[in-house]
């Protein structure tokens, strides 16, 4: 019964994905989504339809050129126009772009080379503080007490240095990645995860405390204002002249900055995607996969494991560094709070949700987590606060909504969201929503007759043979995994007699 339902669903999906159907589906969805968002810019379902339409463009089988031109059309024309109607969407999309790049970077470390990095956000912080320091007045406040900037302190650099600092952010973060990588290479597996966690916390604490002896980071207050790249007024006027009548309202310069940062983030993300794709199937990418599956065997085959791991750290970190610079400029403010452990786990959640090692997966993961976080949780909060103001009562238990504690604000329960995603994914779908292509290929090769595109949980981790399974993320090398049993209780053993 269940199987036949599934078959018919599969059949339907296959039919929709052949011939000219995909063009019709994605075209109509896109049209509907655009229409919805255009008509009711504040409605969340409309936005979700739009996002679904955009992802359909990726998933349906269409001619490459059609796909590409649709994507360019959406990214460069549709999104800024719709964003001008409701600037909040641009913020959401900007965040999706930023976190996609972070997730792609973490994916290189966790997904490709199998190193669990729990302090990834530290590199993001490095990028953010880099521009935070050089793009603000902080350099002239080294000997001031935090929060006491004298009037008329000049800025260190002109705002347009920002573009150069995106590249500097890449380099500095990559160097930080190497520095962290060097000592960390001696530890493995779950210990390594804890060490990276410690490193992330150290960076945050340093940002928090380096307001003395020299006031480098302004301490917990954070650095503000940070300069944004310059934006001539003419550009905004031209945009308003062209798009204004279409949207029905004019954007001011601050709102236009959202569009600008969206476009910059888009460029960075596309660069990240291209780099990741190129790396994935390159010599280096294959070396990473080999290390992930079995480090001993990889070393025996002549792969310089340490060099490759360092490369993974550096490349992963560099994405975060670039996005950090962008983040600092877009917020005009950095503070240590933005780089806590929860952020690291948030990025990890995106990677795990989408699929470890899978490039489209982590982007979808980032989008889903950000939308859940920024839209669903927040609208739920709004809904609750409306209920709180109403006279509504839950019938059976006679509970008045207005008695609900004001502390209950779902928008603040991100940890719950991340935690539930992590646990459920680990138990039911460790390969993620969209498993990595290479993993799927391997599965298809070994089970040629099986037509399951997405592996079942059972085939993903066969119980008891987990150690030989080549498909599982972050697998610790088998050879070194043998040792622990004897070490577990050396002291207890002696007392046994």
């Amino acid at each position: 019964m269940k199987a036949s339902l599934r078959e018919s669903l599969d059949g339907l999906a296959k039919r929709l994905n052949t011939g000219r159907y995909p063009y019709i589906v994605s075209g109509s969805l896109l049209f509907l989504g655009t229409l919805f968002v255009y008509l009711s810019p504040r409605s969340i379902p409309a936005f979700l339809v739009f996002v679904a339409a955009v992802s359909m463009v990726y998933f349906l089988k269409m001619h490459k050129i059609v796909k590409l031109s649709l994507a360019v059309f959406i990214a460069i024309i549709l999104v800024p126009i719709l964003g001008a109607r409701n600037i909040f969407y641009l913020e959401v999309i900007f965040q999706i772009a930023v976190f996609s790049a972070l997730a792609l970077g973490l994916n290189i470390v966790v997904g490709f080379s199998g190193i669990l990095n729990l302090g990834y956000v530290a590199f993001y912080a490095v990028g953010a503080y880099l521009w935070g320091f050089f793009g603000s007045q902080q350099a002239f406040l080294l000997h001031e007490i935090p929060g006491t900037a004298p009037q008329g302190t000049p800025f260190l650099l002109a705002p347009d240095w920002f573009y150069l600092f995106i590249f500097l952010g890449i380099i500095v973060a990559a160097i930080m990645g190497l520095l962290l990588g060097l000592p960390v290479l001696r530890v493995r597996g779950d210990y390594l995860a804890i060490v990276t966690l410690g490193f992330g916390e150290v960076v945050r604490q340093l940002a928090n405390n380096l307001d003395k002896p020299l006031n480098l980071t302004n301490g917990p207050q954070g650095i503000t204002p940070i300069q944004r790249p310059s934006l001539p007024k003419e550009v905004v006027d031209v945009f308003n002249a062209i798009v204004g009548p279409l949207v029905g309202n004019k954007v001011n310069i601050n709102q236009f900055y959202n569009i600008l940062f969206y476009l910059i983030a888009l460029v960075v993300v596309i660069a990240a995607i291209v780099i990741t794709y190129r790396l994935d199937d390159s010599r280096i990418g294959r070396a990473w996969t080999a290390i992930r599956e079995d480090e001993l065997a990889a070393t025996a085959m002549g792969i310089p494991a340490n060099k490759m791991k360092l490369a993974a750290f550096a490349v992963g970190a560099s994405f975060a560094g670039a996005m950090g610079v962008l983040f600092a400029a877009s917020r005009t403010f950095v503070s240590p709070d933005s780089f806590n452990f929860m952020q690291s786990i948030g990025v990890l959640t995106m990677v795990i949700l989408g699929g470890i090692g899978s490039i489209p997966g982590v982007i979808i993961g980032a989008a889903v987590v950000i939308i859940l976080n920024l839209q669903v949780l927040q609208s739920f909060s709004l809904f609750l606060s409306q209920l709180r103001q109403s006279e509504a009562v839950i019938p059976l238990i006679n509970f008045h909504w207005k008695d609900l504690s004001t502390q209950l604000d779902p928008a603040k329960y991100q940890r719950l969201l991340f935690g539930i995603i992590l646990v459920l994914m680990m138990i039911y779908r460790p390969a993620g929503l969209i498993p990595a292509a290479r993993r799927t290929r391997e599965l298809k090769g070994s089970e040629a007759e099986s037509c399951n595109y997405i592996p079942e949980k059972g085939s993903e981790i066969p119980p008891g043979t987990a150690n030989d399974s080549p498909k599982v993320p972050g697998e610790a090398p088998k050879g070194s995994g043998e040792a622990p049993k004897d070490e577990a209780a050396p002291d207890k053993e002696k007392n046994n007699g």
């Binding site: 329960y413 680990m426 070194s480 002291d491």
Partner: protein, 391 residues
Amino acid sequence: MRTVQVPVAVREIVRPLVRMTIFVVGAGAVFSAVMILLAALFRGSGADKLLLENQGVGILSYTISILPQVLIDGVTLGFVYAAIALGYTMVYGVLEFINFAHSEIFAIGAFAGVEFLIFMDKLGILAKASIFTSYILLLMSVLAGMMASGTAAVIVERTAYRPLRSAPRLVPLISAIGVSFILQDLIRLVESLTTGQFHRIFPTFGNFDDRVPLFTFKVGQEPIDVDIQVKSIVVIGAAVAMLVGLNYIVNATRIGKAIRAVAQDRNTAGLMGVYVNGVISFTFLLGGALGGAAGVLYALKFTRIDPFIGFFPGLKAFTAAVLGGIGNLTGALLGGIVLGMLESFAGAYLTTFTMGAMGAEYKDILAFAILILVLIFRPSGLLGEQVSQKA
């Protein structure tokens, strides 16, 4: 070799007590000696002059004058860390994985204990409690914390770890991180739904805030009083009792033998008729209960709790477990005491010695630095055997 035959029960009670004494005295002596040496080296430095200017004492006499208080604080903190670290180390010994959610198990214990006491406070019992009843009430709140945490730990193991037991190592670790986040927000959810806030304050009752004078000693002409808070005595006493009890259970009982067997080789233990799942659940129960009790003691010592208090003590306790050699009960004890002392010393002296450039805030970084250094240079810890690297 001739050995004196002592009954196992007696031996397993005396031995940990002796060890604890050695660790406390040894760590205290080493830290004091290093500190005094440092102070002697710093004589005449800028820090010395600054201190003379501001307080009229040299750095050496300053160091010596606050030393006993620092030691007492360090020991108290150390025992709390040791009690938490045992939870990590036991689970690691049996399952070889880092129970990341243990810090939240600790927080659950703290909340259960404090909520119990607040409830008693509302009933008016706390206000009129005599000294004796206040100790009974504290004991009951510790038991409440142990029960809540033990139950939580067993439930977590059953739902989030057991299905992943045969999965690769990082999978249960990620699941544990998830559980840790879920628990943090669940505590917050329950607290904010029932009480409207999520910061709780340990109610004041009994004589726990009193100070017991210990001794007076002279540095130069200045007499220095050394005293200890009653709550510190309670924390140390309770922690010692628990550690001895745990050592007894693990080393001198039947279930303890089963735990050791599972830790050595899970499959073989199963073949020998040990009920492995039950033993693992029991391990989580024990570790969780210890963590819960530590949570209540922590709340007693530091008064204010929130759903996220588990994070730093948890990480430091993990550091302690690694420092001592993870999987090793004695090691966790030693690691906890060393780390507690280190933190207390850093908190007390760092500001003075660096002339205010580095405040006590850096003590958290110090713990991480220790963790990273130990993992890199001696991953088997102080008491662990040198083996090829696991994980």
